[in-house]
Subunit: 524 residues, 2 copies
Amino acid sequence: MASSTPSSSATSSNAGADPNTANLRPTTYDTWCGVAHGCTKKPVQFLLEVVDILLNYVRKTFDRSTKVLDFHHPHQLLEGMEGFNLELSDQPESLEQILVDCRDTLKYGVRTGHPRFFNQLSTGLDIIGLAGEWLTSTANTNMFTYEIAPVFVLMEQITLKKMREIVGWSNKDGDGIFSPGGAISNMYSIMAARYKYFPEVKTKGMAAVPNLVLFTSEHSHYSIKKAGAALGFGTDNVILIKCNERGKIIPADLEAKILEAKQKGHVPLYVNATAGTTVYGAFDPIQEIADICEKYNLWLHVDAAWGGGLLMSRKHRHKLSGIERASSVTWNPHKMMGVLLQCSAILVKEKGILQGCNQMCAGYLFQPDKQYDVSYDTGDKAIQCGRHVDIFKFWLMWKAKGTVGFENQINKCLELAEYLYAKIKNREEFEMVFNGEPEHTNVCFWFIPQSLRSMPDSPERRERLHKVAPKIKALMMESGTTMVGYQPQGDKANFFRMVISNPAATQSDIDFLIEEIERLGQDL
Amino acid sequence: MASSTPSSSATSSNAGADPNTANLRPTTYDTWCGVAHGCTKKPVQFLLEVVDILLNYVRKTFDRSTKVLDFHHPHQLLEGMEGFNLELSDQPESLEQILVDCRDTLKYGVRTGHPRFFNQLSTGLDIIGLAGEWLTSTANTNMFTYEIAPVFVLMEQITLKKMREIVGWSNKDGDGIFSPGGAISNMYSIMAARYKYFPEVKTKGMAAVPNLVLFTSEHSHYSIKKAGAALGFGTDNVILIKCNERGKIIPADLEAKILEAKQKGHVPLYVNATAGTTVYGAFDPIQEIADICEKYNLWLHVDAAWGGGLLMSRKHRHKLSGIERASSVTWNPHKMMGVLLQCSAILVKEKGILQGCNQMCAGYLFQPDKQYDVSYDTGDKAIQCGRHVDIFKFWLMWKAKGTVGFENQINKCLELAEYLYAKIKNREEFEMVFNGEPEHTNVCFWFIPQSLRSMPDSPERRERLHKVAPKIKALMMESGTTMVGYQPQGDKANFFRMVISNPAATQSDIDFLIEEIERLGQDL
């Protein structure tokens, strides 16, 4: 397919094209000099060929006879698969080879949109979202000023307002921004809290204030600790609160640890409540946590990166009851709402804090003497300078589905999780990690191989059980038929964490996953 | 175009489609339920219609008879243009309307790829890069683990290695990561420096270490100060070093300020040298700064977000001489190399620091007992959790152009800047902000209206001159023919900052810009 016989073309850096497919197509990219003079015939032809490859990929993604992945080890891909060489070189490749590279990149990748891919919280391939992202790339602009992203800046403002309304804040003029992922959104929340209570940190640093302490649960996302380290609090000052057997914060332990910190002369600043933990899908009791935050005058953040989508569902939003009492909320539409990666919002109840916290007034970008209302420029409230347009795909999906469309899609995923739970809870081949109906789409379970079924609990059994999920996962990736994650948690041996966020998944896909685990685990 | 007459379709949430265009097309998105069962005929048809809109946009972007923008004030767009309503609603819109929304989003946006768009450091619309980004969206995966992004993770590793080689580091096993923009890359550099010298900050926070001080020039990017605020140093501990008339750091002032900080009992930690400042395009004297950093044992970071591209040019890379002595480098391919936003790398000379600094070992994501070599998982060295795939478009462009292609493209942009400088330096209508040939593609100048040409320097003249650029820029945006930025700098009145990073720009576009400034400024 990819011929690279040297041609006699004008520039020495050209590789030749396959004569059978050459017609409109130039041999290499640098012969597209017509672009500078407005000729786009060849580039458009090239893009159409790429689109053909992509649409073929989209078709196959939804075709269950296609594998989820074709696994290769790093050394295999690095050594170079047939015709696919990852190394970069001084001279250009032929455009024929570039098309082959595109095909191979998809071939050796993972189909995260496949209805049987359950490995991550972000799954699916929403077609409207995909169209939105293609448009975003084509527009190739930057969110920092209204000047060069007028439509996107307004879409972001309108969408953030809508999200704040759905959270339930009654004030009109809150704030927020789309950030590159939930970890950064959570980082923003801590910065906002610090600025609200100790604005002098901005100029004088953490050395100028008392020993500030952050609280989050032992089941919460590691990004709170990571932000604690980055922002200069130190991980020792990120106190982990105990959870009950369902992975929910125990409010009494939170209060005890706040008092303990105060006794040490430390200053409690911030509590993170999680709405939808990563592994168990647990919802912390926000009302009780909010009571404690009010009592001790602490900033309440709700990390609803994973659970935020449930706010769109009249049936499930009660699980986040009390979220309207938070001062800030992380909510990732790229998870439960099926928006393409990346799409994460940090919402802040009070306007002005993000701006105050991050503003540096760079004259070259945020000129106060522009001809339009510069309050629409967003760059001075971000920790980024340039900022990718994450809003459009989400806005377009919302237009195309309506709020009710998201509601239906989320309800459907939760029904599938209930189906899975009902299917395996009483079977001897499976053991649930915690009891009771799933609150989110997380269903956590062990597969118990024949050899362990009659064995009583013991360190040996736990040790053997710990190896089961990794073994099955390895076989699963080799066979490429489906993908699901596993991990240990606390002193619990490795277990499978099933999550469903792809509206293309059906009961038959759940059945398939369970059968596949049984098939792969039968001889363990 | 967008009919929304209610139809008698099965679901109550459907809006009707124009009967003339209905054929294959469903009326709303939720009638695509076939996707779940593997039928993708209608979604593929929809994507093809979007592609048609996008290719039309691409064609027009390179057509100089098309305007760069069709400017509207925020209130105008918010009130709703004909058929284009930004508000979100509960019910879905028809797919016809979704296509109209796509067209209108592009119509009211800014063509950053237009050969006459000079407003930002990131310009252009590279076709291979665009194809790469379309593929990236379609693959919709996440950089945190090899497991779900095997090809992209390896491409990143290979590209980072290549970039480190080009920087000139002789050690084999450095490190780096692609981050969401130069500001975050610069933030990483400060975190790395802090971890190298004071690893205890990770656990104990900034209160546990002496008063640490960062140094950067008064012309450097504001992200250094912003990171200083965020990471808990405080902006008072980000010391600004004086620059000469070309915007380059004065090494003697750096050394004096280091000594001053030490005298106060503070601890100098980190120096940022800029290779290509935002406004002047100045290159700090890295060799001299490196000497000072060695003398005082400080971390040297080079912010080459803008200037890094020149490393690809044998003719221009001497401007960054000494960069190989840095401990870390920021380099944004999305600027001078014309890669689509976002694409920014933080390169670190020593392996292990990013990992040590950011590692939290989340068990659910980075299982040590996976079947592949988990050292390829990248998530634990990032401050993000999920991370967008920024590498593919860049890798694909490199394949298609080769190193020599980037070199040619960058040399060409620099030649255009020289052309512009030569064109206006001796004309009475223009006054240069600093003397001498441009080192980068930044050309900074005042347009002097007739009324000010014979007026000697005075506060009144400066005050009037200060208003000239904003007025011309406002007229320019209203007419939509071209775009260039302006800003003040220090005590200098507003001036134009011309930058060229779009390889589609030609001398005729430079001529056009100058004529347009003269035309719009003739009556001022």
